[in-house]
Amino acid sequence: MKIAVLIKQVPDTESKIRVKSDGSGIEETDVKYIVNPYCEYAIEEAIRTKEKIKAGEPEAPVATVVISLGPDRALEALRTALAMGIDKAIHIDSEGKIFDGFQTAKILAGVLKAGAFDLIFCGKQAIDDDNSQVAQMTAEFLDFPQVMIIQKFDLTPDSKGALVTRQVGGGAREIYEAVFPLILGCEKGLNTPRYASLPGIMKAKTKPVEKLKASAFLGDTGPLTQFIHYQLPPERAAGKKLDGEAPQQAHELARLLREEAKVI
């Protein structure tokens, strides 16, 4: 069985985001990058799935591959996944370009098709642009079934499919019985991602990393959406302090709510 994990490298939530002066993107210097937290659940589930199959059948051929599209720095994210226990990595060089979700899905689908994977884990969304569309579109390009925002994953005894649970509105759960090939979008609660071990970090350095170019899979597919401009949300305006005794303050407050804030 071949298991793929699609991951994205994103700015650490602790990083302070600064927009470039011309609004064309964010300043990358001083930004620390991490593996998108939802993708960490995907990595963990792939490793656990392999461990489960191996526990039942030690000789079973199971391979895990982590794939990321991005600039050179995306390699760090791939190394993190390798250190956690993934077997091999594929780095698709974005060649200095920024792709929209549609193009990203197109490229990933091309790479996945060539790899003939049975099971593909992704994060439910990336925490930088929060688009939540790449996994779904990739499934469409591959014509694979998909279940998104999953919180439970159980292999069937024959390892040819799985029971997958997702939370829906009102506290209800949907349970899907799916046969591989399958794409899954992972949600918090699915598992607790493991810490890499120190020897794992060292071993990751010698695990294979295949290098591909995005252009080879994109063809002439153009973007469907474009970022025109970046800006930070407006700063909160200063508060207003009302003077005088309570009755005067109440009058003034009512006037402001009516005339300035226009909420009453």
Binding site: D12, T13, E14, K16, K32, I34, V35, P37, T80, A83, T192, R194, Y195, A196, S197, L198, P199, G200, I201, M202, K205
Partner: protein, 478 residues
């Protein structure tokens, strides 16, 4: 005449005072509470209290483990509303970057403000998210990073204070004394005026403004969790590491009793069966040497594991690099005292509670000291954790009633005597407060204690400030 601003006092009949009575291990009985909003008002109050010889105790977030911010009597002045960050600038003469803030700012917020400007303020007691800056100066706080960066004292450049008579005074640092990593006990007599104030537990004056040096933010760090199946082997590992050329930022113990609590935190990794003790360390690295640093540690640990006959455990040395993982490890570490304090609180009513040690010994005496305490503690409900790289573990004993508490108290006094005999100290970081006052005579000679009494009289002749902290209330020894 009435005490100025006493119309704003919250009196002991008012339930709002309840929260301000308690420290985690000590309950006081103050008569009134006042929230400092303007230090000019506090000055007037101090002047009047001094003339009437009324006791005044200052409190921050009341995280003291020795009851130093709980008052047995008189007025409690809470600093929580004086929490402004004032300035961050570079001194034109020294080239040093300095930060200034009011005492009530939470240490975590202070550190964050400085970090946002690209600098770094090292002191980091475990309670850094709750403790106030002023309190950390008044106790000369240390934390896990003290191993590499030293205690709070090292970074204090200027203090603005109110004396016991309500007079404002600015004290600057002129030169740096030789600073031990850990405190001995009582006042620091080997420095200058500013050193008397640092670590004085609110007994010499009220700190109203703090100026600290800050460092450039140069390094990132990773954390390692290293499990051991034998407690004393983990101590031996620490001693060898400290004596080696390796320079971690922090070197901490999560020992027997503590590891069981640590494991219950949902975000920490699972250790192999039979884990008795975990060493938690932080290592800084520059842009290009992450790989070298991790390789160096792996080789060092594997060598030790091989020698002890469990080489396969290296697969369970956990590595945390992302901010989330590092925060999770810290949260798990903080979870230990928080859980114990909560459990111990349940025994207060029956006369029991937690007794925690704060002694430290020089690193070459750590192994015999730990072996001795461990052997004598085996039949007791205990846990042990904390700043092992500085020879400064916290042994915590849980007692259910007064007689158990007395027995443990005597045992801890015995430990303190041994620590002093080994050349160490009795109160590494928690201060003496009200509950460890009797340690002072274990640590110091009569002559030194007499000097401390003279110092107290110099600053606070009427003995009104922080009464009962460090020294007994005036007169009880005479």
């Amino acid at each position: 005449m009435k005490i100025p601003h006493s119309d704003q006092f919250i009196l002991k009949s008012d339930s709002r005072i309840q929260t301000y009575k308690d420290n985690p291990t000590y309950t006081g009985h103050p008569d009134a509470l006042y929230f400092a909003r303007d230090f000019r008002d506090v000055a007037e109050i101090l002047k009047e209290c001094n003339e009437r010889k009324l006791p005044v105790t200052f409190c921050g977030s009341r995280t003291s483990l020795t009851g130093s911010s709980a008052a047995n009597e008189g007025l409690v002045v809470s600093l929580e509303k004086k929490d402004r960050f004032l300035d961050l600038w570079t001194d034109s003469k020294t080239g040093e970057t300095l930060a200034k803030a009011e005492p009530g700012i939470l240490l975590g917020d202070f550190k964050k403000k400085i970090a946002e400007a690209g600098s770094f303020y090292p002191p980091d007691p475990t309670s850094y998210k709750e403790a106030q800056l002023g309190g950390t100066v008044a106790t000369n706080a240390t934390g896990e990073d003290t191993f590499l960066y030293g205690p709070t004292r090292k970074y204090i450049r200027e203090l603005k204070i109110l004396t016991s008579t309500g007079t404002e005074k600015i004290i600057k640092r002129a030169r740096m004394p030789v600073i031990p990593s850990k405190n001995r006990a009582g006042y620091f007599l080997d420095g200058e005026e500013i050193d008397e104030m640092i670590g004085s537990e609110g007994t010499l004056g009220l700190i109203t403004e703090v100026t600290t040096a800050v460092l450039p933010q140069r390094f990132d760090h990773f954390s390692l969790l290293i499990p051991f199946n034998d407690f004393l082997a983990s101590i031996e590992f620490v001693v060898r590491t400290v004596e080696s050329t390796l320079r971690p930022r922090a070197l901490e113990l999560i020992g027997p009793g503590a590891i069981e609590i640590f494991r219950t935190h949902p975000d920490v990794p699972q250790f192999p069966k039979g884990t008795k003790s975990v060493i938690y360390l932080k290592q800084e690295f520059g842009k290009s040497d992450l790989s070298n640093k991790s390789d160096e540690w792996l080789k060092w640990i594997e060598k030790f594991y091989r020698e002890k006959g469990h080489p396969d455990w290296s697969e369970s040395i956990f590595f945390g690099e992302s901010e989330k993982q590092k925060d999770d490890i810290r949260a798990g570490r903080h979870h230990i005292p928080a859980t114990v304090n909560e459990e111990a609180r349940g025994w207060h009513e029956s006369g029991g509670g937690k007794i925690s040690t704060d002694w430290w010994v020089p690193i070459d005496k750590l192994l015999p000291m730990m072996k001795w305490v461990y052997t004598k503690s085996l039949k007791l409900p205990f846990l042990v954790f904390a700043h092992i790289g500085n020879g400064h573990p916290h042994w915590n004993f849980l007692t259910k009633n007064a007689s158990e508490k007395k027995m443990i108290h005597d045992f801890v006094l015995e430990q303190c005597k041994r620590a002093v005999g080994y050349g160490g100290g009795v109160a590494g970081e928690h201060g003496l407060g009200k509950i460890h006052r009797d340690y002072l005579t274990i640590q110091h000679s009569k002559t030194t204690i007499a000097k401390m009494i003279d110092l107290k009289k110099k600053w606070d002749p009427n003995w009104i400030l922080g009464r009962g902290n460090i020294l007994p209330p005036q007169g009880l020894w005479r």
